[in-house]
Symmetry: D2
């Protein structure tokens, strides 16, 4: 019994090292995005306007709409999941349910009459992210989606300065930024649970590779989503044809 515990502790200690390495890779990925993203640089220079923020929140609405669904899908398709991990999938799905409505709320706070407006279809890069998240939830290593949660629930250290800048520039209150504020509170606890799941259930090199692959790919696709938002905004500002033309009058 004692030996068993020791071995398990050893295994967890080993996994903690791997988790640290994962976090370090994540830091590098984030730094790269923060440095190279035209959207984030635009924001940090205090140049964001309501049009751009609304456009960004619409795209956020789109992928957030699917997060609970693809999270639960992991539990639906996995036929040999540990009970604890399967429960995590459903609990986590339940907690994410409806979060896209916060995005709509915040858009409404900017002065967009969401009820009257048909929400435009997601941009290409947004749809690619959505497609990828369903794909890695429905197929492959059943714990790999933790790689997405690992950064998504744990991103506030990186994006809080960006949100603060948005808040200052657009003079928004916390109640007008519910998507980010509420998330950053909820997600702190989530982040710990996600780490706990990884420490417990990532046992083989394949597991760790799959988690890292999904972390890297989904974060890069999120970076592309930001690029797509900025491109579309540029089109809008230049007066080119855009599905977001209805935001033109927003000031």
């Amino acid at each position: 019994m004692e030996t068993e515990t020791m071995i398990q502790d050893e295994a967890i200690a080993k996994n903690e090292k791997k988790l640290k390495a994962l976090q370090e890779k994540l830091n590098i990925l984030w730094e790269d995005i923060l440095k190279s993203s035209l959207l984030i640089n635009h924001i940090m220079q205090g140049k964001i306007d309501k049009k751009l923020f609304a456009l960004y929140m619409f795209e956020t609405y789109h992928y957030t709409f699917h997060n609970a669904r693809n999270q639960a899908l992991v539990g639906v398709v996995g036929k040999k999941l540990p009970v604890q991990y399967m429960k995590f999938c459903f609990v986590h799905a339940e907690e994410e349910t409806g979060h896209e409505l916060m995005a709509l709320h915040d858009i409404r706070e900017l002065g967009v009459d969401v009820a009257k407006q048909v929400i435009p279809e997601p941009l290409m890069n947004t749809e690619t992210l959505i497609a990828y998240l369903y794909w890695i939830s429905a197929t492959g290593n059943p714990i790999q989606r933790l790689g997405y949660s690992f950064w998504a629930e744990n991103c506030y250290g990186f994006i809080n300065p960006v949100i603060s800048k948005v808040k200052d520039t657009l003079k928004l209150k916390d109640t007008q930024l519910t998507f980010f504020i509420a998330h950053s509170n909820i997600d702190e606890e989530h982040a710990l649970e996600v780490q706990n799941m990884i420490l417990k259930f990532a046992q083989t090199d394949e597991d760790w590779n799959a988690i890292e692959k999904v972390m890297t790919t989904s974060l890069k696709l999120q970076g592309k989503l930001l690029d797509g938002v900025y491109e579309e905004y540029t089109r809008l500002i230049k007066g080119e044809d855009s599905r977001y033309n209805f935001l033109k009058s927003l000031n």
Copy 2:
């Protein structure tokens, strides 16, 4: 505002009548099953043995294995679900997760070495029930699966006498009947939530018809499952070829 509340109350009062009618149809279905089921009659005559109970619990294991999964599937595929109902799907899925392990536990308590035994594939009628539950979770009216939950979470009034008889006949303790005992406790609360969901979200005749259809069909298929168990047991007892031959020595 006041008018709105009144209308809503009226609507709920109307739905409560419909729910009562649903319950009455359910009572009739149950009475029919209790009267005509050879398995239940065999049990109530005090003739159950460990072989039969183990065989029944293996089949219970099979469909229970899928309950959390097809419950969550409702939330995954529904693209226009009310947030509260979608959350219910995932919460309920989480609560059902792993319940099949209780069935295995109770089989082990009967003296079957489950770890050493390859669990036989589900019988035909069991598989038909499983297939149907995925089908009505993945397609059709998104609230229709409540018709299954309506009887499944609410069946203890009907089956408690049967379980008691099993308990007495086989001289089992509560700790050897965890599947039924634990469920009957958990499910009391579930039953109320299910009724609450129906009262709130069944709005059209189509909704009520879909719920009733799934209630009726899934309970009849459950009845067939019992028939299938009894047939297989008869085969086993007669010394005919059976996938459950390994239970022969169980006394």
Copy 3:
């Protein structure tokens, strides 16, 4: 090389024996259905009317609608299928595509204005068959659906006398029975292909068991479908509440 051929021939000879045994089991299943089915006895006594035939064809429409889809699904989900079998799945799916329209055509020939009529939802037993066919196409042994095709493409020996009786009783021409006439021509070739697939790709006992299981279950569910049709017809004739009330005036 020579030895290899011989072994292969031996294997095929062995499989031909198994196929013969499968056919014998099928014969017994069919005899049982032909003997015990109230619907078939009703027909063979020359008592069928247009109402009953239309009702039956609507239910036939329903499950036929899904046949091409669940057949193709086998090729979509199987990740390790032999190329030849995967091609068979798609070719066969293509050939089944649109056959439900023949059922509608024949209903129209009976004098039902299908265009004006909302087609009622499938009866319980019809839906159970549909659900089962998707289930065994999406999960389990990837060649097991051949067990369904084995009887479905090969049923005309058994049901031709029944169709003849329908034709005589209702004084229908071949052009008013396109579903059965066309099928019986097309399916002859299909039947041979299905047998060829089984002979080639059923290699283990598991394969043969899975094919037999699906053959038996789907044919029994088809028998239940016939029972469901007859029950609904009885309800209709007795003036009880029926989704097929619109057929009442059909004479």
Copy 4:
């Protein structure tokens, strides 16, 4: 009748204009890829080696493996497809079945012992393309996947010079380039069928937009796939850690 035909002709004439516009957009997309792709420029400069070509063919193997499957999926999930289009989906799926084996054949011809080698998992950009193709096949406008086929079956005008360069540089025979040679023959006919499907079934602006969206996105993702191949090759050549290290000795 005459008027009807005229209207239909008018409609087809209108669609032919739209198809021409689609083709023009496609030309621009291709030109952009041909100009900016590091991989294609590398090839056109006569610098490709067997390592790079094998690496590219492995990634080609990966997405080609899924083409028949996601093509058939369109026919499986669409509940209101025109019969002719549904048949097209299955016929086309059947024709694509097993094409990934041609890629493996050509890799073998380069001297790689594929049988002994575990095929590495797809690169990130390859997996993103695969995920996207399943996504747009399973959801959204049921004819949108034609946008992918429109360029994929019709790409030989653009890539033949590239293939010729590969052939010359690596001194390959046609029998060592079966994937491209066979495809370019088969696909000519496919291309016409795809155009025919678009002309016939693209009826609304939504249809045309959906087709264009999928054409553009999937071709851009294919461009990214090429980028991913080149990056991985660069890593391999530089002696960095690569899943394709086993190709190092290939000369």
